[in-house]
Subunit: 303 residues, 4 copies
């Protein structure tokens, strides 16, 4: 198989889908992105990189940042985060408060917003600056020192952040935040507003395909921790379409409303795709189609 051709063909194949769905519109920084963009990058575990389309263009990382905050917390603190957040699929919309109430302030998993706030809160306690730590991880793993927060997007998020503020206060009412609500919110909005390209994102995710080994060759996570993050991505990484994603793509993956998705083939490679138009569950329509095509062509489903 010629991976470069494969990636190019996939990008060509999904191009007709780019205007299916809708670009996220709740903040200007996302609403103004052209739906005609599409990028894809495959980073092999040996370091080789293959890309096509707008694979060098930066976009808003949004919820994909939750994988990196979780990895950082686990790297510092092994397993204790699981006392404050579960790891079960949520079975309902990604920003729902219903289950949070039923479960007494323990979010169902670290990838719904409530759970991500708890992870960010923990990272804040561990490092003093959660968003800064995540930026540092993305920079060192991608090898690109210019990865940074889009200040306009972060400010917009804060302005339109009533729903996340509600969630944070709700968590605080159950005693499940260690830091002041405002500080957690600020870090959370910053981490979601990080800008990155599919190339840098694929590279930065590679430790999950290399059993925890970082770009520098040293262990960032243990093999066990890396496997477990992949397991959580598979069951919870694409909001309430996780079952559909496992069925069609068959890889651990995590999406964001900026239109990006990462997927991991354990032992082989990581993949990043980006297409701004989202389907009803908040995942990139063309991005999922590209990953579906990818496992069909390579046969690299984990199943």
């Amino acid at each position: 198989m010629d991976m470069q051709s494969t990636v190019e063909e996939i990008v060509a194949t999904v191009r007709p889908l780019l205007r299916r769905g809708d670009v996220a519109s709740y903040i200007p920084g996302l609403a103004n992105v052209s739906p005609d963009k599409f990028g894809m990058c495959v980073a092999m575990s040996d370091g080789e990189v293959f890309g096509a389309g707008d694979w060098h263009t930066q976009f808003s990382i949004q919820s994909i940042s939750k994988v990196f905050s979780l990895a950082l917390v686990m790297s510092y603190d092994y397993d204790s985060i699981w006392r404050r957040v579960s790891r079960e699929p949520s079975g309902s919309a990604f920003n729902s408060m219903v289950q949070l109430e039923a479960d007494q302030g323990i979010p169902r998993n670290p990838f719904i917003n409530a759970g991500a706030l708890v992870v960010t809160d923990r990272l804040l306690t561990l490092t003093g600056d959660a968003a800064h730590s995540i930026r540092g991880l993305l920079r060192s793993e991608s090898g690109n020192p210019s990865v940074d927060v889009d200040r306009a997007v972060a400010a917009s998020e804060a302005q339109h952040g009533h729903r996340n503020a509600a969630m944070a206060h709700f968590l605080a009412s159950y005693g499940n935040l260690e830091n002041p609500v405002e500080l957690v919110m600020e870090n959370y909005f910053d981490q979601c507003a990080l800008e990155i390209s599919t190339e840098d994102l694929a590279k930065a995710s590679l430790f999950l395909a290399r059993h925890g080994v970082s770009a520098g060759g040293t262990p960032f996570l243990s093999p066990n921790q890396s496997k477990r993050i992949n397991a959580v991505m598979l069951t919870c990484g694409t909001y309430d379409a996780a079952g559909e994603f496992a069925y069609r793509v068959g890889l651990p993956g995590k999406s964001g409303v900026g239109g990006g998705i990462i997927a991991v083939v354990p032992g082989r490679c990581s993949v990043a795709v980006w297409g701004p138009s989202l389907g009803p569950n908040g995942n990139s329509v063309a991005g999922i189609a590209a990953l579906d095509e990818f496992t069909t062509r390579t046969g690299w489903s984990i199943f």
Copy 2:
């Protein structure tokens, strides 16, 4: 690795856990099983079989039968079952009606009871006798022609089946049953009352590790269908502990309240374990511990 020793050591390791949790008690046929039983069998894709403990003892297959009914329906009818049942994790208890109501009679997945009733109903239409077809599949794949329904258990299920009857009538009220409620119930209770040993169960599940190829060497499912059933097992196979199971075990699996669990290592082997005492989510406590130990020792997690 010496698989026979591995299996024996695992069985020895989990023995102290056998009385953790509770044996299912809603019908006599299950309640009277000794909690001290434990069996485990690994069936390799080349046909070799390794077992230890009570691996030849028969037990009630219960919900594990749902994998075989789904496989049969897909073998006859490719993909059309997904118009009548979703494939998302349920995020709530395995016998809940709440989501069925919210989703207008479309069960969340084929492994919760409501979804399994729909699959059995479809199989009944396709073959004229759903339980008979499932028994046939188990017999031919295990090579054991004496696999059969435990009539006493089936009768008890029917007697204590108000909750399932409620579910079936509820599905019927949404027009999501093709056959009379009573007939669907009868077939469903029969399929759950099939008796089987871990040896026969591991063998009968092997087609999921062999990309759909049956014991006789002919394709029973396409590789794609086999992968997809594995994906549904991973996200939905262990009630509302699917996230936990993926995190700890890292394999597609399906459990039943009889205490059995099957797990699949795609391309390599299938595993069946059986320990009657169940944890709070209805999965065998010792069975899950054995599978956790199995992936730790073999390194065969899919992540």
Copy 3:
């Protein structure tokens, strides 16, 4: 005030509303009723009766029968029914199973279907024939010995009764039925299929305006029991529009999908209205408008 003129004027006033909403269509016996029918009758506590429109025409009593089954059970058994059913408003659609599950098989109140099934079950135990007892009460209180079950409607209800059957099996699964599901269903469908006119219905409800005193002048219920049934009607009598009904009409009332509604002015009179077209919550649109008009004109709101 001239009550006869008042009733005639109200009937004239609501006539333009008769085609607002939709006639219940789930069974032919209800679907075939003309939406242009409207009847109203006021029965004073001294026995005088005032009517207008189609006030002698019979219609299907449906859920209004639940008031009479509850009254009968309380007459035999004082207060013990409240161990098996609560008396709180349900806050959700009238046939929902969600709350029944959350409340472990104890229905929220005796006027949602689940609660009414429990009341009918109890009445069946107490009298041996629930529907027969309710018919007897309607006959003796209305003075009309020809009140009877519409057999065609009862048969249709049974044929389309999957949702109620689901509810009954669900109650049985929690041990909250004393009689076989089939027998409870049969009685329930019969009681809902009783045919009655607004004249007979207003007369039959009069004991609730007379502190429990029957048509014959003897106590059927104690004053306290009568008050309490009125309280349950006010908070729970019109499905999830009970707050709206209290706000607009300000009287205890109970509606049915046949288009009938009864209302009680304690110490003064009972009122029955009938208009087949139903609003989104299953209550007669013209019927509610007529009762609103009635309290506005008479000033007889309880508030």
Copy 4:
């Protein structure tokens, strides 16, 4: 009937219940109140007042303030508040977010916290200072110019107010607040921290028994508005025990976690009771018993 003796006897009767239940403990200002206090006052529509026990002792008005904020909004703005809040019983715990989410940011009624925040927000827009307006109404209707906010309680509420802050941000996320979250919260905490005695509270509630006529003899609300507030109190005034309250007491009423309850006998009198120990639904145990006794002795149930 000698009302003074009646009130004294009721207070004596409920005294053994004073330590049943628990004093609200989430803020010091409430937790430090002695459970042995009990006061009761009946204010007749002609102005006469009867009291017993600690009827002159001040306590925290808490949720009873919601009746006065609603009355003020209706006095300025007739009926438009009902576009932003419903008037149906909630059927679940008083501070639940579940229904708010299901109903797209429209609270079920003005007496659950979410609904009260919307009412306070509206009053803030109408008057510029919601808490100040409510204090003014209580002062003018009770004739006691020293009714005021307990600053320590208001500060504590703010400190422990994460749950209410969550609700306010949640409402804001649906566009159902007109003023900044912080300003609405401040007014809400202030109105809940108003201190008042049963004497002043009974007098201040009298307009609801006098068809809207104020203490000064001029109309504050129309008779229709007064009736409608009573209707909302009956169906929604005591959290998710409204059905029970209607059944046992049979009067419109509103409770607060400070242990106070008001009840209205339309056309006759208003009643205020106060006992700090609360039952499982957040209502004063002795207070409800006293009101039950009151309607039993006087026969003044509205049913």
